[in-house]
Assembly symmetry: C2
Homo-oligomer: 223 residues x 2
């Protein structure tokens, strides 16, 4: 009768998936507590529960790893989140910095029919408004080779592909200086002392951006 995972459990699982870099490394209790804005004691309780449901494996004092079953469940939630974000921007004219909170709610709506119909309605999009890939029905993700702007060398250029930080403040800043998904970036110079960069956006604006900003911008490099 009840879904296999509660809303709270889904949120924990999503956090574990992201923090483990899609399942590549273990996640500590404290990292999870930080991420969920909960206390470590609460996390310990929850990971016991998730472990008993088989979506993670857990060894006392040594963090958790997501299981295949858990990975699939996490990807279903992520698929929903990204499809809803796409809907909000493409159909309802939300700005890209306004969608995250609403999508955090919508991602928990349980209806396979709804999500497949939404996917069709949107034309089977491959990426969300922040450039993140949308997992398909079977949890497959089409990963595109991309690098942090901070890693690009002076004289090279690339196309903005996605953002690592989806916070409204950061996205509003990007919009303000003219950076959006698909924009062309030419790297003029990289300041060694603080990692900031001088770049040209779409052959027009020449701006300086901080190391922090450049680390959260992912580009597809071009020859």
């Amino acid at each position: 009768m009840h879904p296999i995972l509660s809303l709270v459990e889904e949120n924990y699982l999503k956090a574990i998936y992201h923090l483990s870099d899609a399942g590549k490394s273990a996640v500590s209790t404290n990292a999870l507590a930080d991420n969920m804005n909960n206390k470590a004691a609460s996390v310990t309780d929850m990971i016991k529960k998730l472990s008993s449901k088989g979506v993670i494996s857990y060894e006392k004092y040594h963090g958790v790893n997501i299981s295949e079953k858990g990975r699939r469940a996490a990807l279903r939630v992520i698929r929903k989140h990204r499809l809803w974000e796409t809907f909000l921007v493409d159909k309802l004219n939300f700005n890209w910095d306004e969608v995250h909170e609403v999508a955090e709610q919508l991602e928990h709506i349980e209806s396979p029919l709804l999500i497949e119909k939404l996917d069709s309605f949107l034309g089977h999009p491959k990426v969300d408004p922040h450039g993140h890939p949308i997992p398909d029905k079977d949890g497959k993700i089409h990963e595109v080779k991309q690098v942090q702007l901070s890693e690009a060398k002076a004289g090279t250029n690339g196309i903005v592909h996605s953002v690592n930080d989806g916070s409204p403040k950061f996205l509003q800043y990007l919009s303000k200086i003219g950076i959006r998904i698909g924009a062309r970036i030419d790297i003029v110079e990289r300041m060694e002392f603080d990692g900031s960069m001088e770049i040209i956006i779409d052959d027009k604006e020449r701006v300086f951006i901080s190391r922090q900003a450049s680390e959260n911008l992912l580009i597809r490099e071009r020859p």
Copy 2:
């Protein structure tokens, strides 16, 4: 930080609104327990809580009445429910018998911006796929004068305006015999012994429908 009403409280309030015929009569503990598929004891606890929040008034042993504040909150949820149903049918090609359960989930998404943008996207619809009026932003409802088909006299005709029973089974039955919102119904004869009726649908099909069915079909009478 938290919404004023929890998801569960919203559902109770909606049930109270509907059971009280939009605030016209008091609702008993048992009626509410039945409707919510809960035990009376649980309802007693909940109505104390709702009462302390000022959305209903409650006198021990004498049922509850919805307050103005409660009515507004209930109408906000109903507005969302009906807008989402409209979205599902008009945009995602759901059938009218498939939308209720999903809308029961979607109606609790909290985002005034979302609901106003959705309303625009749908072209400010006045009724949902079952013919029920959609309250506007201020909780105003455009009520249309309509009667139960069971009350119509032989020889008269009317346009199907809404259904009182939104269950998949009933709606599928209606679709099967060719009744949809907007269909023309001519009443041929009303059988006094069991209240069943012989009707003609859209000048084509001549069918018999039970008293129960005719009581759950609302029509706008025509001269």
